[in-house]
Subunit: 438 residues, 2 copies
């Protein structure tokens, strides 16, 4: 296996790094046109379009959209029917995700109100979204962990109703996905997918409720549909390929780091795995471990393609410099593979999730540590955050003005509004000042 | 003036309300093509394109982009040169906006970390964005209040550098805008605008620093450019026409409510002003006040066009029902025009800002109450929040796993990863379990 090697000491490093990171999401004109048409059709014909397209794309025929709903009893049966070890693992994961997001809710979703010296009361009230749509892909990328990671924060935030859609090509249902929906308290599930499902959630049909926000991953059609309905409803981020960056000081067994890089690479050929280390011998040891471990991996072909196409082993002058390079990359997952990881934390500014210590493998975070596995990709950790309870609430400012407050603030607003040429604004403030003739 | 009257008792109410609210942002293919070309040109030729387009669109010729920068001394001179009353009004507004957002920062921007029973430490760290671009429109819509409302939250959040762009058609600078930039602590100002300014901020040029997020209002070209660079950088919301909804129990002087409706309508012909009241006589009184007050308004033509085209007076059965209709509309600005406004607050779920009491005119909130005046429009208050300090920070999850934690969580992740067919994930977790052979 041939993985690119870079060194920060090379004069060409900046250009090489840029090339390594380069990824552009092409917008496909054909997909855009198809998706625009599907959305228009769903808006016009509602359930009829959803039924027709579910037949066409998924090979599922039903008399009505109501027949495409999975009743709660079927979700529960799927859960009850799992092997004990899977059921317990799902339960542990759900419980830990719930506990983490409850703590996150307490810290991040508080409203506030304070009174100023004139008796005005200013603040914000926080309220949950009424209804959220959760898109779950069907087929090979059907991940029960995604159901937990999207539904539980919504539920903790107090969202009134979670409507899940999941396509079931040729009628095949994924028992783990249904079990996760049961466990996460999803109220309604429809076996529909694609742009038609996104459109139905965004605009509502006779059977499918209109939601306020749509979250969850999907293919290029789903992503294009989410972009198009944005504004009509909220959406979560649209993710690029998944990424891991390991910052190693050489204290972890090389096999562990090799397998962590594999765990990202096995997602798909575009996934990106990068290792930064100031010790060239350790880079060699990890590379040797990768070559030794690869043949045993069931997804070896995908791992190889990903690592050869987009992977990188970067030799840095120091751990400090490795932190600086990491900040430039702003990775989705950042493992600080060190027995003293807290030493480097103050240097790390941009990352979706930071895994601290040699025991903190990304896979634990993907499934059951508790924090969300939906994270900003493609450098967007410079300005975005993990999916969280804060994505399922919104804030309203509260502006409660006293009689005295109106006397003090009225002239200020009057002056500024006149400066902007907005005389009704000025008059509306001035009228509330006593003896203004208002 | 002829303003639409609706009554919730009418069988046709739902349809009439939907028609009243109808607003669709048309995407103009010509604008899209032009903007795509400008962005491509700026990415390829950087400063040269910015200079050429600034000459072409704004009639401003300069030898270099550096020459388009406004030095801090010029901002300060603009501030010092303002009439005393304007300078003081700006200072009061800036101080109040700062104080409110400091309080908001304390409540909403805390990180957290907690330890579970296995010694794992889980949490989130909050860090400010490195660099933010602030777009300020030139010409007639140049609002110093927007400079304060965008720059101060960024500054309070700890953003390292705020880069402001403001076009100056024919070289004309707005002294109030420059003064506001000085007051808000903006470090760098370039007199550029349009899609070229957005592209320069998103990708950087030799002279203009690449930013992590772009906020601030703009025309259709600016909005289209912001949509296109989204993903490369963060953006704030893209606002539709401004709206006010007044929920009146009849306790405010009708002139006050009339002027508040005008203050929204004077923004532009598409702005929307709606009054909800269970008292038909009060609706008559407000309408009479509007007819009496209109001729005195300098912007009477705009106000009339807006109110006749998109305004509405809605007679409801009760205040409770008025609250329910308001939730359906999810207005940008919601005035609860009542001497007992807190009675209705628990009924109000969706609104950008809620103004409580007869003294709380929207204009006070627009300029100086303290809360942000950048608010979700077009019903997006169902799922979005006012611009705030939380828009200028991002979160990174912290996942610190103990040796014991790896023993407990490893088997859980192993099971779930195998259920998803991701064997490298499974192995990466399993390897860290003692005596696993890893």
């Amino acid at each position: 296996m041939k993985i690119r090697r870079l060194a920060t000491t090379a004069a060409t490093f900046d250009a090489e790094l840029e090339q390594l990171l380069h990824w552009s999401e092409e917008t496909d004109a054909g997909i855009e046109t198809t998706v625009a048409q599907i959305i228009a059709d769903v808006r016009r014909d509602g359930d009829a379009t959803v039924l027709a397209l579910t037949h066409k794309f998924d090979g599922v025929q039903a008399a009505s959209v109501a027949d495409l709903a999975i009743p709660p009893a079927e979700l529960k049966a799927a859960f009850d029917g799992l092997p004990e070890v899977q059921r317990q693992a799902l339960q542990v994961a759900a419980e830990r995700v719930r506990r983490y997001h409850q703590r996150q809710f307490e810290v991040t979703c508080q409203g506030f109100e304070f009174e100023d010296e004139d008796g005005n009361r200013l603040g914000q009230q926080v309220t949950p979204l009424d209804r959220v749509g959760l898109y779950v892909p069907g087929g090979k990328a059907a991940y029960p962990s995604s159901v937990l990671m999207n539904a539980i924060p919504a539920q903790v935030a107090g969202v009134g109703q979670i409507v899940m859609v999941v396509p079931t090509p040729r009628g095949e249902k994924n028992a783990l996905v249904l079990a996760a929906a049961h466990l996460a308290g999803v109220a309604q599930v429809f076996t529909i997918g694609g742009a038609q499902a996104v459109a139905a959630l965004a605009y509502g049909t006779a059977t499918i409720p209109r939601v306020d926000k749509i979250t969850g991953p999907g293919n290029a059609y789903v992503a294009a549909a989410k972009r198009r309905v944005f504004g009509q409803v909220g959406i979560d981020m649209i993710a690029g390929p998944s990424e891991i960056l390991v910052l190693a000081d050489g204290s972890a067994p090389p096999d562990w780091v090799a397998m962590d890089l594999f765990s990202q690479a096995e997602h798909d050929e575009l996934a990106q795995s990068i290792l930064l280390c100031p010790d060239a011998a350790y880079l060699d040891a990890v590379e040797a471990a990768m070559n030794r471990l690869l043949p045993d991996m069931p997804r070896a072909a995908v791992i190889r393609a990903s690592l050869e196409g987009r992977g990188g082993l970067i030799h840095t002058r120091s751990m400090e410099e490795a932190c600086a390079v990491s900040n430039r990359i702003a990775p989705e997952h950042l493992e600080v593979s060190s027995t003293a990881p807290r030493r480097w934390l103050p240097h790390l500014k941009h990352a979706g999730a930071i895994f601290l210590g040699t025991y903190a493998s990304e896979s634990l975070g993907d499934y059951c540590a508790g924090p969300n596995h939906v994270l900003p990709t493609s450098g967007t950790a410079r300005f975005s955050s993990p999916l969280g309870v804060y994505d399922f609430v919104k804030r309203s400012s509260l502006i409660d003005i006293s009689h005295r407050g109106a006397q003090v603030l009225g002239p200020v607003a009057d002056t500024l509004a006149q400066g902007e040429g907005l005389q009704a604004h000025a008059r509306s403030a001035a009228m509330r000042v006593d003896a203004s003739g208002g």
